[in-house]
Each structure stands twice: as structure tokens, then as C-alpha cells.
């Protein structure tokens, strides 16, 4: 089976600015994949190259085996992209836009049932005849997502689909996207809500300054990079040197240690006992993607 998306050595510069510095990535069919990274990391640039909106400086990308430049017609038919920018056509209503969008891809009246399903799934049914201009911001975002799905593409790319969207829609949207994933669609998304990525995606790539700095299953990333966090309230003390390396952060007598396993808890506690430091309070947290994210890409100054 051809990978849903295959990215080989993509570089992109805008004038002197190197937005992408050699990105390689393979996403298999049926995956639910997250592309994470701080503002300006190059996520949208990568997606726009995939979609054919931007030309790569070097490197190539294929969608289910079709090169996005050489075989752009086949590649684009297989791809549905939700742009990050909230754009809309003020001349038409929601259903018209969806029919047009499907039509551009060669879908005819046989596709109308699918259009209704999208409207239903995204809670747009009662807005079907509303002009795009008159939709609220969140509704416009839904319509934008619906447009990307109009031709029922097997590979779906969502660039921050939940930006500026209320909790209810986020839930509704993810239910709908999860259903599409169960039906076999490959899903790739970017988001700044890391808990979303953690809950939904089986694999994650983290980008920083145009490069992928981590690529693994969500579970492995959590284990490898963050493990567990031990937060101790100790008051105003000097930590023993032996446990200094484990310290992640410190604020006013509260110390947070990043630990790989439970054995290290015992190690920290006994070191404190030997130094005669009293533990006032203690909290043990499972790490989440945010910790991984911060430890990998948090430091913007290097």
C-alpha cells in the first residue's frame, strides 16, 4: 500500500528566510497524525507545498504515490485541505459553495448525499441556505472544513481547524473527524491545543525552525521525553547536588523534577532525607504532550 503522504527532503526559502530546512516524513494510510510546533515553525508552509499552493525550493512530496507537482491532478483529487486562514466566498450560500467545490473535483449530483452528510456532521444543516457572509466566525470555520471534505478525499489535512472555535463545535468536529478516520480516511492536523493532539493522534511530528525535531508515536514521545513529573513543596532550601540534574523548574519553594521512572522518586526522596530537607507537599503528574513540546521546542533562543 502506498503511503498517504511521502515527503522527501523539502526545503523552502522565501527570499533569505529559510522556512523549511529539509523535511522528511511518511504518513501511512489510515493514520491520525499531528504536526505540532510553535508559530512560524513551518507547518503551514509544509501543508501549502503539499496542497500545491506553494512550490518547494527542492525536494518532493507525493500523495498516495502521486507527485504533487508532476501529477498534480491525481494528487489533488486525493487530498482535502482546510486552510488556516478563515476565507470564504461572499457571493454564495453554504450549500452552493459545497456543490461548487465538489464540482471542481468532477463530482456531480451523485455527491449530494455526501454533502448533506457533511452539513449534518458539522452542524451546518440549518445554515445550508445562509450566505457565507452572514455566518458567525465559528460557522465560517465549519464551512471551511466542509469545503475541504466536499469531494470526499481519502487524505484530509486540517491546518488549525479548531482555532477560534467553541468547545461544543470542537467536540462535534472531532467526533466527525474520528468517524472519517474509522472509515479509512487519513487525517493530518496541526493544532496549538496539545491535549487535542494527545487525545486524538496516534503519531506526532514536532517541528521547530523548519525541521522535524521529534517524530514518534504519541505514547513513545510521552515516555521518552517527559516520563513523570514530581512536584515538591520544600520551602526555601538548597537542593543536594545529586538531584540537581533532575530539576526541571523551580518557583518560590516549589520544585518540579522530570523523572523517567518510579525508582527515581525514591532516589529524590532519600537524597532530600539525607540533606535533612522536609517535604511540605508532594504531587506526582503524568507528563503530557505539552511537557514534551516544551522540552523540545520551548526554548526559542537557541
Amino acid at each position: 500500500m502506498k503511503p498517504a503522504i511521502q515527503i522527501n527532503g523539502i526545503h523552502k526559502s522565501f527570499g533569505g528566510l529559510h522556512a523549511l530546512n529539509g523535511v522528511d516524513l511518511t504518513v501511512e494510510q489510515g493514520e491520525f497524525f499531528a504536526l505540532l510546533g510553535p508559530n512560524g515553525a513551518g507547518k503551514s508552509t509544509l501543508i501549502n507545498i503539499l496542497a500545491g499552493l506553494i512550490k518547494p525550493s527542492t525536494g518532493d512530496i507525493s500523495v498516495m504515490g502521486f507527485d504533487v507537482v508532476q501529477q498534480y491532478q491525481q494528487a489533488r483529487k486525493l487530498l482535502g485541505v482546510v486552510p488556516q486562514e478563515l476565507v470564504f466566498d461572499p457571493f454564495f450560500n453554504v450549500r452552493e459553495m459545497l456543490r461548487f467545490q465538489a464540482g471542481y473535483f468532477g463530482c456531480g449530483p451523485e455527491n449530494d448525499a455526501w454533502v448533506d452528510e457533511i452539513l449534518e456532521g458539522l452542524g451546518l444543516s440549518d445554515k445550508a441556505h445562509t450566505n457565507m457572509r452572514r455566518l458567525s466566525g465559528g460557522m465560517k470555520r465549519r464551512a471551511l472544513i466542509a469545503q475541504a471534505l466536499a469531494h470526499k478525499p481519502p487524505v484530509i489535512v486540517l491546518d488549525e481547524p479548531t482555532a477560534g472555535v467553541d468547545v461544543e463545535l470542537r467536540q462535534m468536529l472531532w467526533e466527525f473527524i474520528k468517524k472519517l478516520n474509522r472509515d479509512g480516511h487519513t487525517i493530518i492536523l496541526t493544532t496549538h491545543y496539545l491535549e487535542e493532539a494527545e487525545a486524538l493522534c496516534s503519531r506526532v511530528a514536532m517541528m521547530k525552525q523548519g525541521k522535524i525535531v521529534a517524530l514518534d508515536s504519541t505514547a513513545n514521545l510521552l515516555n521518552k521525553f517527559a516520563g513523570k513529573q514530581l512536584r515538591l513543596i520544600l520551602g526555601d532550601v538548597n537542593l543536594p547536588a545529586s538531584i540537581q540534574p533532575l530539576l526541571r523548574s523551580q518557583e518560590k519553594g516549589a520544585f518540579t523534577f522530570a523523572l523517567h521512572d518510579m525508582v527515581q522518586i525514591e532516589f529524590v526522596l532519600s537524597a532530600l532525607r539525607e540533606a535533612n530537607i522536609k517535604v511540605i507537599d508532594m504531587q506526582l503528574n503524568e507528563a503530557d504532550l505539552e511537557d514534551v513540546f516544551l522540552s523540545l521546542v520551548g526554548n526559542q533562543n537557541d
Binding site: F14, R76, V87, P90, Q101, G106
Partner: protein
């Protein structure tokens, strides 16, 4: 929608884009058709009233009759240009052109859809002015094929020019500059209101460099059977200009100039 079932899925993409472009101006036909028709009729009223008794262009042709084909053609050209250029600049500024750029439509299909919609807008406006002008004065028709050919290729030429302007301009004010510094002067100095034979020799030469002159003159020839130059020369100039601009537009679209960074 049912008639679409007959159309193969291959053809459906460009057909949809064409239909959307048609609907886009038809939905606001008050501005896109009625307004230019009224403008042309105002010109007709004012100029024919002021000049009827003073200007004799061709023997036996009243000035008002001389004026009407020129006004029709000027409106055809301006509206064909306006259709493709304003659709593109609006979609670019609003950002919704991405919906078309994401599709498998080829650059040729993209070109054809915008071009045909522009031609139809030009022809619809021209036809409306013609039908209304018929109430004022009867025009002869010497050669209907010439009339149609000039209207068709003229609007194709300007529709193509509008696509180029729409691709090139990034902002509305740049588009307005195109409109005010190229389209308007060329159309007013093309012999809509006079025959270039009434001009001093130098300005006759200058007029002959203006492609609008050939479109207007040839179109008018279709009505009266006479003009300033042979209609076949005019038609070949208009046709060649169209082919050159179409080739340029297709090259721009294929390279992704200004549309795909």
C-alpha cells in the same frame, strides 16, 4: 442540476467554475449589467443631442447611428475586462481563490472558465444596449457575422487582459490604475465618438497603434459596410492580439506567477 448528469466528470470541473463565474455576475446583474447599460445610454443621449447637427461622419449616416455601434462595442470591451479582472482581484484579496487553486483544474481549464464568463458578460451588456438603442434609431446591418466576430474576439481579448490584470494586481488600487490609465484612455481614444479621418494626420497614426480602434472600427463596419480600415485587417489584428495575450496568460498561469508562491 440534472442536466449536469449528461456531462462527463472530466468536463464537470471546468464547467462548474464557468457556471460559478457566470452566477457571480448574474447575482449582482444590477451593477454588472444594468449599470453599464444605463451609462452607455446616457452617453448616447448627451453626445447625440450635442453633436447630431454638427458632425457628419459618413455620407448619409446620421451621427447618432454612427455613435451607437461604438458605444456598444466600448461597453462590451469594458465589461469583459471588468468581469475577469474584478472576479480575480476580489478572490485574491478575500483569499477565496485558494478554493480553486486546491482543485485538479488545469491552467487551461481555469483560463477557459474565466474567459468564457467574461465574453458572456460583454455580449449580454452589448446586446442589452443594442436592443434599447433600437427604440431610438434603426441601424442597418451590413454583415451580421462581422458584428458577431468583433464582439466575440473583442470581449475575448479584453477578458484575457482582465485575467492578466487580475493575476498581476495585488490590491484594488492597482486594479483601479489599470482601469483608469489603460482601459479608459484606450477606449475613449479609439474612435467611438468620431472617425479618425477627422483627426490631424499625427493623431491618425497614434490611433492606429490602439487595438481598441480596430475593434470599434471593425464592429461598426458590420453595421454600415464601411469604416476607416478594411475589416479583415482589423479582425486579424484583433485575433492576433488575442492569441498573443492568451498565450501569455497561459504561461503566467502555468508558472503559478503571483498565484502559487
Amino acid at each position: 442540476m440534472t442536466k449536469l448528469a449528461l456531462i462527463s466528470s472530466e468536463f464537470r470541473g471546468p464547467w462548474t467554475l464557468f457556471k460559478k463565474e457566470l452566477l457571480r455576475f448574474w447575482r449582482v446583474s444590477f451593477q454588472t449589467v444594468a449599470a453599464p447599460v444605463i451609462t452607455a445610454l446616457l452617453y448616447l443621449l448627451i453626445f447625440s443631442h450635442v453633436l447630431e447637427r454638427h458632425v457628419q461622419v459618413y455620407d448619409g449616416v446620421p451621427y447618432t447611428a454612427f455613435l451607437i455601434p461604438g458605444l456598444i462595442m466600448m461597453s462590451v470591451l469594458q465589461n469583459a475586462f471588468a468581469n475577469s479582472s474584478s472576479s480575480l482581484i476580489q478572490s485574491k484579496v478575500m483569499g477565496n481563490l485558494v478554493f480553486v487553486l486546491l482543485t485538479p483544474l488545469t491552467h487551461f481549464q481555469f483560463f477557459m472558465a474565466f474567459l468564457l464568463a467574461a465574453i458572456i458578460r460583454g455580449l449580454v451588456v452589448g446586446l442589452c444596449i443594442y436592443l434599447i438603442a433600437m427604440w431610438f434609431i434603426a441601424l442597418p446591418i451590413a454583415n451580421p457575422w462581422l458584428i458577431f466576430a468583433f464582439a466575440f474576439f473583442g470581449s475575448a481579448l479584453l477578458g484575457t487582459f482582465g485575467i492578466i490584470a487580475g493575476i498581476w494586481a495585488d490590491r484594488f488600487d492597482q486594479m483601479a490604475a489599470f482601469q483608469n490609465f489603460i482601459i479608459m484612455p484606450l477606449s475613449f481614444l479609439s474612435g467611438v465618438f468620431y472617425s479618425i479621418h477627422s483627426l490631424p494626420p499625427f493623431w491618425q497614426k497614434v490611433s492606429q497603434l490602439n487595438p481598441f480602434f480596430y475593434m470599434i472600427d471593425g464592429f461598426r463596419y458590420g453595421f454600415f459596410g464601411k469604416g476607416d480600415v478594411s475589416p479583415l485587417i482589423s479582425l486579424s489584428i484583433v485575433g492576433t492580439s488575442f492569441l498573443v495575450l492568451a498565450w501569455l496568460t497561459l504561461k503566467m498561469l502555468k508558472s503559478g506567477y503571483k498565484l502559487r508562491a
